[in-house]
Subunit: 324 residues, 2 copies
DNA sequence: CTGAAAGCGCTTACAG
DNA sequence: CTGAAAGCGCTTACAG
């Protein structure tokens, strides 16, 4: 029922070897023969079985991508960049998420051992870095897409957390704000530490309130400091979601943004345009991060050695009304 | 270098056939033999090559998913549901997006012919339904995840656009609103027509302004009707994004929501909680849609015949401050 | 309960 | 320029 290379060979009156050669455009084939074979391929609608090709060649022309969750729109953007690049190269993309603990990690490890894909792109789910490092040592090409810091053990693509936070601080400073409140993300994330340092180098005097990247944590942080009577004229939140929470708390307390208090976020999610007022934020180039990582991995699979140093893609301050 | 079934057989002193039998837990194997083989498998860390298994069995234990774009968070939610379900069943998920026109469609068709996956889940990219229907006729199991209407040609999972819009209308009616402005999505989408009809059955008198699901179209629609002096006391937008646009236009014009004008959206994107005021909206069960579609497809691959009728998952009105 | 052999659909030395 | 044959790593009748 399925058309195989054998059918094509028989129909064209040549060997399977020859058919294989014209498929893979090896130069050693006679022009007329090749044309005849191509004609038969067209007529029969023959397409090589990806499974058989993979088995014979020892590679699957497929890359895997592991992410913690798809519902963070930051990751969906990265994924879009990855898919575009991988597809354009004629590779397939196998998607995995590790959101059900050890069981999912084990299942994923099986896929790796089963050689389901040739290389792996990863936005690290928490506590999986050791496993992934082991896979990399075991010979699996890996590229890390990293919003959380640097892991020099294998190739990675990162963004400028330090400089991005510094640019936010500079923007506040230039608009005359001198008493910022910083709402952080989880403090064990290297990106959070980078953002703290980058900000502090420009505006060393500020209050810090630990957050967890949730909308709620931004709201609570602001409520707490308003209640405590902290004097602050601006908020720098470590992501857009908590910045949105901060905006809401300020509004509820009757403070106007940006007149009383300016607010800056981090990420530039689509959401950032729709807050009230629209959010000034440090844009992470999520899509580009995905594209770049995919290109790196595909290059590596093609023989180009991956760079030793992390590839750095710059953030960019996007000014909207919450901090003009 | 790679551990194969042959290595295990040799080490355990049995044939490859026997190893294969214990891997696939066929009952005909002697207990002691099986134990010995399992032990060797563990020691050697043997995992069957998915490619070889697929070739021998004629199936890949992989499903494909085709989506128009990942940056709509509605689709990311669906995808999350799909991934969870597919992973739990031990299948892999190959992801494809068709966002570069004919070229991508052709590339995708190749993957189908190459038998890269056993079945396909699809959120239809525009103008691909014919191609997909052809694939289905060609023997590829397909389940459609449909936010745009009904296509009885193959199994599908849909939501209640008609009833959802009706529930929005009823909610407005019950809170005393009698002059709604409806901002639609693209009018050729069946879901848009369903929403229009469902709304009209409850609240036949209303203004209709065509939109395109963008934030801008919601904003423009409201601006236009304010300028024209249309009298309206509420807005029903066909998606959350255009509802957000409506909110912004109303605020800019000094109308207060919900006092002057109530606003209801459709989708319940995460964004809906962060508008000002938070958006009352008709929730589509995106994640559940993905889970259900995946379960249907996996069932079909396992032999359960797919249902003739579309599987219908209900929408739900989520009341927030924009229309209390 | 167990194994030898054929087969899944390709690619790739090797020989001509 | 072309083909016969072995091999990729499994599964599955078939025979015992």
């Amino acid at each position: 029922m399925r058309v195989t290379i054998g059918d094509v060979a028989r129909e064209a009156g040549v060997s399977k070897t020859t058919v294989s050669r014209v498929i893979n455009t090896r130069s050693e084939v006679d022009g007329a023969t090749a044309a005849r074979v191509r004609d038969v391929i067209g007529r029969l609608g023959y397409v090589p079985s990806s499974g058989a090709v993979g088995l014979a060649r020892g590679s699957s022309r497929t890359v895997g991508m592991l992410v913690p969750s798809l519902t963070w729109s930051w990751i969906a953007e990265v994924l879009q960049g990855v898919v575009d690049t991988v597809e354009a190269a004629g590779y397939g993309l196998l998607l995995y998420t590790c959101n059900r603990g050890t069981e999912s990690v084990e299942r994923f490890a099986e896929q790796v051992s089963a050689r389901a894909f040739d290389g792996l792109l990863v936005v690290e789910p928490e506590n999986t870095l050791d496993t992934i490092a082991a896979m990399h040592r075991g010979g699996l090409p890996v590229v890390l897409i990293d919003d959380r810091g640097r892991h020099p053990a294998f190739p990675s693509v990162v963004t400028t957390n330090h400089a991005g936070a510094a640019s936010a601080a500079r923007h506040l400073q230039e608009s005359g704000r001198t008493r910022p409140l910083v709402v952080t993300g989880p403090e064990h994330f290297p990106c959070v530490r980078d953002r703290l340092r980058g900000f502090a180098e420009v505006l060393p005097e500020h209050h810090v309130e630990p957050g967890d990247f949730s909308e709620r944590s931004g709201r609570v942080a602001v409520e707490r400091h308003l209640a405590a009577g902290t004097r602050f004229d601006s908020v720098f939140a470590h992501n857009d979601l908590s910045a949105a929470g901060a905006l809401r708390a300020l509004r509820a307390a009757g403070r106007s943004v940006p007149e009383d208090i300016a607010v800056i976020g981090f990420d530039d999610l689509p959401m950032a345009r729709h807050t009230e007022p629209p959010l000034t934020t440090v844009r992470q180039p999520a899509r580009l991060l995905g594209e770049t990582a995919a290109r790196l991995l595909l290059g590596h699979l093609g023989g180009t050695p991956a760079p030793d140093e992390p590839v750095v893609l710059p953030t960019e301050l996007v000014v909207r009304r919450s901090a003009p």
